[in-house]
């Protein structure tokens, strides 16, 4: 499904964030991406939705090379992805419901469908009672959950999440992970960058460990430990 071939990313300031990385992620995989701060996890994820373009190498998603893909096709690539960034990005002048709805509006889903889907997604992250609030009226953890709701609302083929439980208490983190497992069961590929040792060790899924831009570990039923 996702094939990364010899990808290197060097930022304009000279930082080599990824160094000759090759990895294949299959449809239905649940992959944890671990590694120390600054290892290149976020850069790795951003590569997958063309937010960053590799300096060298190839990235194939569903057989299509997204590196050489014309800019105008990028939106269509992203519509099949669910994305949760490390710094939760919400539209400040839109309500929670409108934020979650945005991904559906883009595709032109009808209002009725949108409403039921929003309701469902917000319930899954435990925020349906705050649907009319604005992001600035939410706590950090609540904002993070709105992002998660927005990412899952359009039933993406791949769910790309960067530290989705960083601001969540253990109980809600567990619930979110349970939700991810459910979504994964239904066939969605999940890639999750995380520092949450407990979750990684409990779930025993595939673990990719990055360190200084290199993959130092790729285990099928891995644990958090790197080095």
């Amino acid at each position: 499904m996702i094939e990364i071939q010899n990808v290197t990313k060097i930022f304009p300031n000279g930082v080599r964030a990824l160094n000759d990385i090759s990895v294949t992620i299959n449809k239905g995989d649940f992959v944890f991406l671990v590694g120390p701060s600054g290892a290149g996890k976020s850069t790795f994820l951003k590569m997958l939705f063309r937010e960053e373009i590799p300096t060298m190498g190839k990235i194939l998603v569903d057989g299509k090379d997204i590196v050489t893909m014309p800019e105008s096709r990028v939106p269509y690539l992203r519509r099949n992805l669910g994305i949760v960034l490390q710094d939760f990005q919400l539209l400040k002048n839109r309500t929670v419901a409108e934020n979650v709805a945005f991904g559906l509006r883009v595709v032109g889903v009808s209002d009725a469908v949108i409403n039921t889907r929003i309701q469902e997604a917000l319930e899954q992250v435990g925020l349906s009672h705050k649907r009319r609030m604005f992001p600035t009226e939410l706590s950090g953890g609540e904002q993070q959950r709105v992002c998660i709701a927005r990412a899952i609302v359009n039933n993406p083929l791949v769910l790309i999440t960067d530290e989705p439980t960083g601001n969540l208490d253990p109980m809600i983190s567990d619930e979110i992970i349970k939700l991810f497992l459910e979504i994964n069961m239904r066939g969605t590929t999940i890639i999750m960058a995380t520092h949450n040792e407990k979750i990684v060790n409990k779930l025993r899924r595939r673990v990719l460990a990055l360190m200084d831009g290199t993959i130092i570990k790729d285990e099928e039923c891995g644990t958090y430990a790197y080095e």
Binding site: K46, E51, L81
Partner: protein, 301 residues
């Protein structure tokens, strides 16, 4: 574009307009100010042009008839003249009328000084012609000069040239000021819109993150620009029209003819022009600034 998309754009745009008050206010007021300045200038030009035209059409051709012309002959000739296509009005002035007029000018003391009195009557009979259009001067002069009754023609060449010069000047000034003001307004509005976009670049980044195409992002912004331009023009029009009569009144006290000759139709056309400009300012401003959209899309951290 599908209807659903259009309606989505519309609601998006209206919601944004309502929720980002400062931005809307700034853009609308910038458009309004630009248009008021532009409009005030156009009004002035229009009035001055009307004024000059009035002055020019006041200018007359005086035809001096030969000394031995009878008054009856003069009247017959006058009727022929009145039928010419160039002539708006023509009038026979007998030598008696002419001398009376001459001496009634209190400023010209030269005649008295050289010892001429109203009792002498050395003036010839003349016909005064008002032209339909100052441009026709040459053609009428050429025609009339050859008539047997005609001794001489006088048509204030100097005054004519001066007015023509002023018209030319006015046109020149108008054009440069319109270009200057137009570019400035455009530039300021464009910058304002660009700044509002820059303020909302996060929004654009997020939109693109969830798969919005460039045009999907632009849609609401363009409608916003349109609405802002429209509101700006409405405000400008209200300000201009409500202050128009006041200002024209003041001017008319100082310059004769001022403000005469502007019809309601012309006012209406000007207003329509302002509206068009407002719309163009808003929409083009948005469109131009939205070219940058891709620059924004790659700065998520």
């Amino acid at each position: 574009m599908s209807l659903a998309k259009l309606s989505f754009f519309l609601t998006e745009a209206l919601t944004n307009l309502r929720r980002s008050g400062i931005t809307t206010f700034i853009t609308v007021s910038t458009v309004a100010i630009s248009l008021v300045i532009m409009g005030a200038f156009l009004f002035t030009t229009m009035n001055l042009e009307a004024f000059l035209l009035q002055m020019q059409s006041e200018a007359m051709v005086t035809v001096y008839l030969k000394n031995d012309t009878l008054l009856a002959e003069a009247h017959t000739f006058n009727m022929r003249l009145a039928d010419m296509p160039e002539v708006a009005d023509s009038l026979v002035v007998s030598s008696e009328d002419a001398v009376r007029e001459l001496f009634s000018d209190p400023d010209d003391k030269r005649l008295l000084q050289i010892g001429v009195t109203p009792e002498d009557n050395p003036l010839p009979t003349t016909i005064r012609i008002k032209l339909k259009n100052p441009d026709l001067l040459k053609s009428i002069v050429d025609k009339v000069k050859l008539e047997p009754l005609v001794d001489n023609l006088s048509y204030g060449e100097d005054l004519f040239k001066q007015f023509e010069g002023m018209s030319g000047l006015l046109w020149y000034v108008s054009l440069s000021v319109v270009v200057l003001l137009g570019c400035s307004s455009m530039f300021i509005v464009f910058n304002t819109v660009r700044m509002t976009l820059f303020m909302r670049r996060e929004e654009i980044i997020i939109m693109k993150l969830v798969g919005a195409t460039d045009w999907f992002v632009r849609g609401p912004f363009i409608i916003e620009g349109l609405v802002q331009g429209l509101i700006g023009s409405v405000i400008a029009t209200i300000i201009l029209l409500s202050s128009y009569h006041l200002v024209v009144g003041k001017f008319a006290e100082l310059i004769p003819f001022f403000g005469i000759g502007i019809t309601f139709e012309q006012l209406f056309k000007l207003t329509a022009k302002l509206f068009m400009m407002g719309l163009i300012l808003g929409v083009v401003g948005s469109l131009l600034s939205l070219r940058d959209i891709r620059k924004f899309s790659s700065s998520v951290n």
